[in-house]
């Protein structure tokens, strides 16, 4: 089976969704509706995941952490 005729693997579909699949393999999608449908479904879910927002803890988080961390001094002692 040639490169063009082989169905895309799951890894290749992920690469395609990220725009990283080599053109020689991506061309298979033009001729294969099975892979095209599968790749489009995969792209949708990956897009939703990469767009997820980051959340922040409450203000003062670093202070609350640092209050409980022992910071070593240059002399080798520890302070909190």
């Amino acid at each position: 089976m040639t490169d063009l005729a082989m169905h895309l693997t799951t890894d290749e579909i992920e690469l395609w969704a990220q725009g990283l699949l080599p053109a020689t393999r991506a061309m298979h999608l033009a001729d294969c509706s099975l892979c095209r449908v599968e790749a489009e479904r995969e792209r949708k879910v990956i897009l939703e995941l990469v767009q997820l927002p980051q959340f922040s803890p409450r203000a003062g988080f670093a202070d609350r952490v640092m209050a409980q961390v022992k910071v070593p001094t240059p002399s080798g002692d520890w302070t909190t």
Binding site: T10, D11, R41, E42, K44, V45, I46, E48, L49, V50, L52, P53, Q54, F55, S56, P57, R58, F61, A62, R64, V65, M66, Q68, V69, K70, V71, P72, T73, P74
Partner: protein, 185 residues
């Protein structure tokens, strides 16, 4: 990192500032409770900073911190699943009366302002779909697509075989697709 290892307060604070959002976000999505996620994030940073001298620079610092955060989340979820069993009564309870007498009472409770924030933040279809995944799948998929880790980095971070990581991520994406497409039908 070198400054932090020498014990500079400002360097420690910089590490917290740099990683607090990704670590908190991972934990929040794992446990879906803001206050608890913050406790676990705090516990993670304290462990990391107090143990900074044991950090091995051949590993990415972010991998080390995510590993500790993920372990904290998984430990919590395991403990919680054991507690959930006790909703049916104490393990030694054999008769229906003993079970009734020892079971936890879960009553209706009004939604607090914090609940409202959580519902808003984690109420979208994709967030609810992520919540339905097994915790192991959840951490892999979040590290892959939210943090942009490679499969190899996830395997190192979570100390899992590479093949297992690939399987978890593929299954997770399949399940997510199923949940999301079910919603659209």
């Amino acid at each position: 990192m070198a400054w932090a290892k020498q014990g500079h307060d400002a360097a420690f604070r910089e590490l917290v500032r740099r990683y607090e959002r990704p670590v908190f976000s991972l934990l929040y999505r794992m446990v879906r409770d803001r206050a608890l996620a913050e406790d676990l994030a705090q516990e993670t940073f304290i462990k990391v900073l107090n143990g900074i001298k044991s950090y091995r620079p051949e590993f990415k610092f972010s991998s080390w911190i995510f590993k500790i955060a993920n372990n904290a989340a998984i430990d919590h979820l395991r403990r919680k699943s054991i507690d959930t069993l006790s909703l049916d009564g104490a393990p030694g309870a054999e008769t229906p009366d003993q079970m009734r007498a020892t079971q936890l009472q879960v009553g209706d409770r009004a939604e607090s302002p914090l609940d409202e924030v959580e519902n808003r933040e984690l109420g979208t279809a994709i967030e609810r779909a992520i919540a339905r995944l097994r915790p192991e799948y959840r951490s892999c998929i979040l590290l892959r697509h939210v943090e942009g880790y490679s499969y190899e980095e996830i395997a190192t971070t979570l100390e899992l075989p590479l093949g297992t990581v690939k399987t978890y991520i593929h299954r997770a994406r399949n399940e997510l697709r199923g949940y999301l497409e079910g919603r659209r039908e």
